[in-house]
């Protein structure tokens, strides 16, 4: 499959995301924030970083970049979209995912290996994982606190839209320990920790993140 990775001004993890896409057995296609078409990709990754300098709110300005108009439309048609860290923030600002991400409750940037539980393996990004499996991947954010009103939290928990939850120590004050969620349809996934940094033993803390990038292939042949 062809997987587009969008580079915004201020993206940091786009090259790692492209590499992870290739390790997952797919072709990575570089997309630019100013693009008006998605170059016939089958899926899109919005990588981490500080797009548009995080000005106004994280992801608030990226949401209105030309490429996001195409991404929002494609997501509406069911195209798989994965937003990691800043990408998750962009997906929330775009209203493709419920809730919002605010500054960490302890006010410090956090960078560490984080233990998670995969709670929904029915998305195109998580089907490689067994449901309930525990993984460890890097986490690095200053504004990673997931918030939503109680009604929304109850709904996404009830509908199985929580994709991953923090284990042991909640790193950023996220409500109900939520690390990642999906939309109602299950094609759009947002995740605060970074699976793309844990796809190769040589350079990562392990390979627990690789499943996010092999899931697409498994789904294609399923």
């Amino acid at each position: 499959m062809k997987v587009g990775v969008v580079t915004f001004p201020g993206s940091l993890d786009d090259v790692d995301a492209q590499r992870a896409v290739r390790f997952g057995g797919n072709e990575a296609v570089a997309l630019w924030h100013g693009d008006h078409d998605l170059r016939a990709v089958d899926a899109v990754v919005l990588p981490g970083g500080f797009s548009y300098g995080d000005y106004l709110r994280c992801g608030a300005i990226s949401r209105f970049s030309p490429v996001m108009t195409e991404v929002v439309e494609a997501a509406g048609r069911g195209m798989p979209v994965l937003g990691i860290c800043n990408g998750f923030q962009i997906l929330c600002e775009s209203h493709l995912l419920p809730g919002a991400l605010i500054r960490n409750d302890h006010r410090k940037f956090v960078c560490r290996d984080q233990r998670l539980r995969i709670e929904n393996n029915r998305t195109p990004w998580t089907s490689s994982y067994a449901e309930g499996v525990e993984i460890t991947i890097p986490l690095k954010n200053g504004e990673g606190g997931f918030v939503a009103d109680a009604e929304t939290l109850d709904r996404i928990e009830g509908e199985g839209q929580v994709v991953a939850r923090y284990l042991e120590d909640n790193p950023n004050g996220s409500m109900r320990d939520i690390a990642g969620i999906t939309n109602e349809r299950g094609n759009v996934v947002g995740l605060m920790p970074h699976p793309e940094h844990a796809t190769e033993a040589l350079t990562g803390s392990g390979t627990d993140g690789l499943g996010f990038f092999t899931s697409l292939v498994e789904r294609a042949f399923a």
């Binding site: 106004l56 608030a60 600002e93 419920p98 809730g99 605010i102 960490n104 302890h106 004050g173």
Partner: protein, 91 residues
Amino acid sequence: MPKVVVDVMPKPEILDPQGKAVLGALPRLGFSGVTDVRQGKRFELELSGEVTDDVLEQIRQMAETLLSNPVIENFAISVDGARVEQPERTA
């Protein structure tokens, strides 16, 4: 030229870590008696023409779509220093 101000504040139920940091700094500087601080944003918009109902409606849309995130923030609009009643939300 008329100036329109949009004040954006975190919703009361949303944690405001920046406000908490300011609150924590005040006693260290010797200021006492402040029990809470909430930090928001103020946007000053200079307009080229008159502030009509249509213009206000456009500013409300700007505030809703870009200047604030309605999931976590509230906003208020003022024209030349006077708070404007929020137009009724259309269902």
